[in-house]
């Protein structure tokens, strides 16, 4: 581990999928860290590679996937080099995962108590009875009312929100160091969403776990995450603290994402979707992959890939706009407003820009 504060260090990860049409270059040189106890949000449009990235942490990639390059360090070992058997001891114990659709992610034919107990029996070697007893505790913890009466129920007897609580109970029952939540609230309605997010925050504090939170809904990120990584076309294009990404975004793609997000103070009309569609990953474009959809694209964006430019110690963005020689551009009005707010928050000086690579 480069930094003892890190639980996971991903370096230069490249993942291809073999398909009949050719090689889909789904993850193209992704690096990031996950710190102890933090929540890292990964945001980006559909197909940007969020799920593939996190699945690689679990060793759960589709059979047609090939990891071309890179490393995923966890406890000083490279997860990529581990065998399936070794991964089975990590999954569900050290790194756990919550999926998007609670309606389908529970086994319809197994009592929920047993489903929560299963990881305990597998990883802690508990007998069924002890495991069920702990499962009961877990049910209480995730806020199922009358847990004693419901531990023997089947999934169909629960609502979507309740099922997601059960899925969370399964994920957290072994107190994993890392919890990966792949759009855990997308399938739920808004009030339930908020409850589930609160629950995750609460449990994170109690059992001290790091969370990777995947979403394409920036609105959810603000209250949830400590840091944010923005993904586009298989790359991370910008990352920083929540405040930095929300109030001082640098990459035109991040601008686009924020612009398409409804906020309380957006005046009518300023909400706009990003035009165009993401590039074909069978044949990714040269340079900045977002250039084709960007109003701020320069010639170099179509010729050479931008390196990460440092915005602050915690904030980096891969866009040529940050190059000292780049012309000064004015971001969309909404972003300017945000940046003004950020400047006010920071008080004395505006963020320092430099061309240092990471």
């Amino acid at each position: 581990m480069e930094n003892p504060e890190n639980v996971i260090e991903v370096r230069n990860l490249e993942i291809n999928f073999h398909t009949y049409a050719g090689e889909v270059k789904a993850i193209r040189d992704v690096s990031f860290d996950l710190r102890k106890g933090e929540t890292l949000a990964i945001v980006g449009e559909s197909g940007s590679g969020k799920s593939v990235t996190t699945r690689s942490l679990m060793g759960l990639l589709a059979p047609n996937a090939e990891i071309k390059k890179g490393s995923i360090m966890f406890h000083g070992d490279d997860i990529i080099k581990k065998s399936e058997k070794e991964m089975q001891h990590i999954r569900g114990k050290d790194i756990a995962m919550i999926f998007q659709d609670p309606m389908t992610s529970l086994d319809p034919t197994m009592r929920i108590g047993m489903q929560i107990a299963e990881p305990l029996m597998k990883h802690k070697g508990l007998k069924k009875k002890e495991a069920i007893a702990q499962a009961l505790e877990m049910l209480k913890l995730v806020g199922i009312t009358n847990p004693e009466g419901r531990i023997n129920d089947y999934p169909y007897q629960f609502s979507g929100g309740m099922r997601q609580r059960i899925v969370i109970a399964i994920a957290l029952v072994c107190y994993p160091e890392v919890l990966i939540a792949d759009e855990p609230t997308t399938a739920l309605d808004v009030t339930i969403q908020a409850q589930i997010l609160d629950l995750m925050k609460d449990l994170q504090n109690r059992i001290d776990t790091s969370i990777i939170f995947i979403t394409h809904d920036l609105g959810v990120v603000a209250g949830m995450a400590d840091r944010v990584a923005v993904m586009y076309a298989g790359k991370i294009v910008e990352y920083g603290t929540v405040d930095e990404i929300f109030f001082n975004p640098q990459h035109p793609y991040t601008w686009g994402l924020l612009n398409s997000m409804p906020t309380l103070d957006t005046e009518g009309g300023s909400l706009s979707a990003i035009p165009g569609t993401p590039p074909d990953l069978l044949d990714p474009p040269v340079g900045d992959a977002f250039a084709a959809r960007s109003d701020y694209a320069m010639k170099i964006d179509t010729q050479q890939e931008p390196p990460f430019f440092k915005v602050s110690d915690t904030h980096y963005a891969a866009t040529w706009l940050l190059h000292p020689d780049a012309p000064k551009v004015t971001p969309p009005a909404e972003i300017v407003r945000r940046q003004q707010k950020f400047a006010a928050m920071q008080k004395p000086e505006a963020p320092i820009k430099s061309d240092t690579k990471e």
């Binding site: 319809p108 299963e118 129920d153 089947y154 169909y156």
Partner: protein, 309 residues
Amino acid sequence: MRKYLLKRILYLFLTLFIVATATFFLMKLMPGTPLQNEAKLTASEKASILAQYGLDKPVWLQYITYIVGIFHGSLGLSFQFSDQAVSYLIGSRMGPSMQLGAQALVVGVIFGIILGAIGAIKKDTWADRLATILSILGIAVPSFVLAILFQYYVGLKLGWFPVAGWSGFAYTVLPTLALAASPLAETARFIRTDMVDVLSSDYIELAKAKGLSKFGIVYHHALRNSLIPMVTLIGPLAAALMTGSMVVENIFSVPGIGEQFVKSILVNDYPTIMGVTIFYSALLCVLLLLTDIVYGIIDPRIRLSGNGD
């Protein structure tokens, strides 16, 4: 639940009535009479025999007499076995047929599940392809062809099992195997398709994310979920077994209902043909009803009483 059952039982009787009617008239359309093999009889002797069995009456009257008889619980008397009751005939021959059917079903379903599961787990490998070829063969080759092959090669050439007859377990082996091929193949195909679906479902993904081993995932999650819809297959499988058993019982000279049925058709023993048909139909209907009830019991999603056990 009770209302549902009552409705189903009502339908069952309606079905049997239609089957009885259809069989009755189809039988009348068959060429020949019950007396065609009795060349020595004079015309008047024939007439008196026909009158004795009511066969001289108009067909509609015969039909009504028969249906009324059924409602009184009588399937009539056999022509060929000097006035034995058909119900007695069926009863006395039920044992071997049921034993063969049950053995074939158990063997077929168990090995079918194994073959299907291997196909699904090893999808798109040589093992899967072999399993697929085996199940296609099992479906395509009729049981009587298998019966003859087994009889000749395993029975006669290798001499491992008796060629025909019915006096001990060894005699059941070859007919059971011949009969088991079709349910085995059907089951394998069904389980494979079903399990491929199940294995790509979200809850299997979650099971993987729990760190369960491949075996654990298949054993604790995939198998149960693929087996539940299997229950719906038992009815059709049993039906296939019944038809299969008619010829297979004949080939191996098993004294079962199927063998009797074929003989009866050859001599136009109307009451026996009718009786066996109605018996088989009733058996099948009851099996299908039981299947639905069992399905409700083992699948918690459609279990009719809301809670746990």
